[in-house]
Symmetry: C2
Subunit: 465 residues, 2 copies
Amino acid sequence: MSHSLFAADTWRHLDHTHDPALTSWVDSANQPDTDFPIQNLPLGMARQRSPQTGDDGAAAAGTGTGTGSFRPMTAIGDQALDLIRAADAGVFSEPVATALRACESLGLNPLMAAGAHLRGDCRLQLFAALRSDAPAELQARLSQALIPLSEIEHTLPCRIGDYTDFYAGIHHATAVGKLFRPDQPLLPNYKWVPIGYHGRASSIGVSGQTFRRPMGQTKAPDAEAPSFGPCKRLDYELEVGALVGVGNEAGQPIGIDAAEQHLFGLVLLNDWSARDVQAWEYQPLGPFLAKSFATTISPWVITAEALAPFRRAFVRAEGDPAPLPYLDGAANRESGAISIQLEVHLQTRAMREAGELPARLMGSDFGDAYWTFAQMLTHHASNGCNLQPGDLFGSGTQSGAAADQGGSLLELTQGGKQALTLPNGEQRTFLQDGDSVALVGFCTAEGRRRIGFGACVGTVLPAVG
Amino acid sequence: MSHSLFAADTWRHLDHTHDPALTSWVDSANQPDTDFPIQNLPLGMARQRSPQTGDDGAAAAGTGTGTGSFRPMTAIGDQALDLIRAADAGVFSEPVATALRACESLGLNPLMAAGAHLRGDCRLQLFAALRSDAPAELQARLSQALIPLSEIEHTLPCRIGDYTDFYAGIHHATAVGKLFRPDQPLLPNYKWVPIGYHGRASSIGVSGQTFRRPMGQTKAPDAEAPSFGPCKRLDYELEVGALVGVGNEAGQPIGIDAAEQHLFGLVLLNDWSARDVQAWEYQPLGPFLAKSFATTISPWVITAEALAPFRRAFVRAEGDPAPLPYLDGAANRESGAISIQLEVHLQTRAMREAGELPARLMGSDFGDAYWTFAQMLTHHASNGCNLQPGDLFGSGTQSGAAADQGGSLLELTQGGKQALTLPNGEQRTFLQDGDSVALVGFCTAEGRRRIGFGACVGTVLPAVG
């Protein structure tokens, strides 16, 4: 088909929802540095923490202290809005309200399955209700459905049936490849195939996730036999995650021009990695226990609609091959890339105890990804594999081109050979127990409000035993 | 702990359920060649097909023509017994009945989560109700709950959260390795690490599954660039699947002595593979689209209890390293292996149209696996990864040591270089459209009734377009 949701005029009826002059009656949403202006309206699953633990925000995050059901919510400024209560207040059309109510306890999957058009309606209706000029009576009712972000706890935004991790960060693939093959960093298939592998779904958690340092088999190059013990080269990976909206039937591929209609929105994703375990286990079938102990995503899904103003042309470097026709579409070329500023921040236990803020380790731009999520999705379904609402894709590590833009410690320390020195004098080659890693993501563009992704934090606990 | 479910006396209270002298009032269960004598009592999810299509058994299999809910059932001779109706008839204790009722529409996951002890109770109670000496009144009531196997349709036995495919067939790993590395067929990690990778859960289907020949990117060695088209080297893989019962919390490994308590039962598993796609895509992160288009399992889960008489010592060949301590337990050594006779049968479209039976291509023994499922499970959870009830493990291709015992066409045809000739004169290097592959599995031992796995059939449809 020639018309696609991805074409320049796709979101025209939503254009005013990006107008930076429009403000919300929720004052905090109008602060210039908020992640959640009225132009964002992310979607997540949350509930209010129990009053007993509500005072201890930081410690209680992610520990499941609340007692009510998890409900679909949006974030606006420093508040969360309960969307089922908003539906009760008459904010939504009947189809949107029905889809949102179906999400209670289950996750956003029913909304994901309902498609991009309904999601656009949801955005429009929420926008109208939260605008400064919304009816005073509605404002009063919705004020009752606001919960400070500091008082909520999240669960995963949806039931994730399958998780696929791609490898679309060419700077990462090149830097890591160089460590193993200085003369041929990129394998011959890299510029043709959106390389990916199936990941572990059960161990995906939301921001606030803590996990024990994994145990595993490793073998030193000079050792006669491997041994089993705590991972010594524990790392993070800075990725963007995409959640699938509408799926496809088995045997029914999704053409590149239709791919964007199947993408619901984006999150930040930390693909925690045990480098020493990976090095010993990964031949010939790929990473397994080196990755499956934990994966952390940010709880607020930034919708495709919110990201529309930050799209840009998808271009290949001079001399690189054009994608094969099944991965090459006009809309993908015109606006397939999305510019998202990405950063990694690290807070050690000593920093936390001293009240020091996390240190920024690097920054990169998701617009540099070698493949778009539309291409990854089309490739994924090209063999007839059925995708389902809530499936998660990881982008692969998003490093920048420069040496100080590595999206993992493996890159920043050149395979552990050159330690990083933190502002407080501590050094790191790989992660230590007690370290917290925060991924940061936000979009900016001339004449647009900043759209942020919110927190994606995970913390390393000591190994068992 | 020193006592384990795996020790020799574990199933002593179930010993009489293996007594070959005991028969059922369901006459067909007493035929010597049935897969489902009273000593088996497998568990699955099924429903009666609608009467309109009930006459056309073969064509309707797996097409979802029934209208009622899928319910937990067992197979006995040529009949299926609806276990919720059996619960209504008073067959089960209250805890077992409650777990079985919770499975309706959902799958066996609640029963899986309830643990090995309750599953043993379920077996005992079913056995008592189906024995020849069961009360006549009970026989009369249960007769009403029997449905001929030819009139039921299956869905997956459980909701499969994550699917992990291992590589525990050493003869397969050696044969395939030889095709690529004649001088070093097995990689250095093979005898130390139960190699595995995450598989695609969404495309797993039950026996009767049909799927389109996958499209994919391939590159001929002499081609300048890859191309996209139908897979030319489509293959099957003969595997055994294991379903996880009770899971573990994240960060809480499962010791080798406790591993058997977490295994619910076994199925047959066909890991369909696109060899040409795999060859081009798999470096460096492993198989992806070459496997994700379809995986077929047999619908009846053969429980750990039914398989107890076929256990045998797990021994390593002279000169092979002992497993590292975390994978080495006394019970695993004593009775960790399970002897299951495995076969692959092929029926081409021409054979089907001529009314010819499938041709047997090979046979092997699962007792030859290099790792036990207990070891795979302990290894999987050793990094803290949380396993969940209903998770599926594949064993990897189970080939025998001889060249004619290859568990895939890749092996039987030496990489496609030497075609197989079928009884009707047709030749095959890889699968053609219309081919059906049937996996067969059964256990036999001196003085024991034969325990069969039932059908695991899948059929290749032409590629899209």
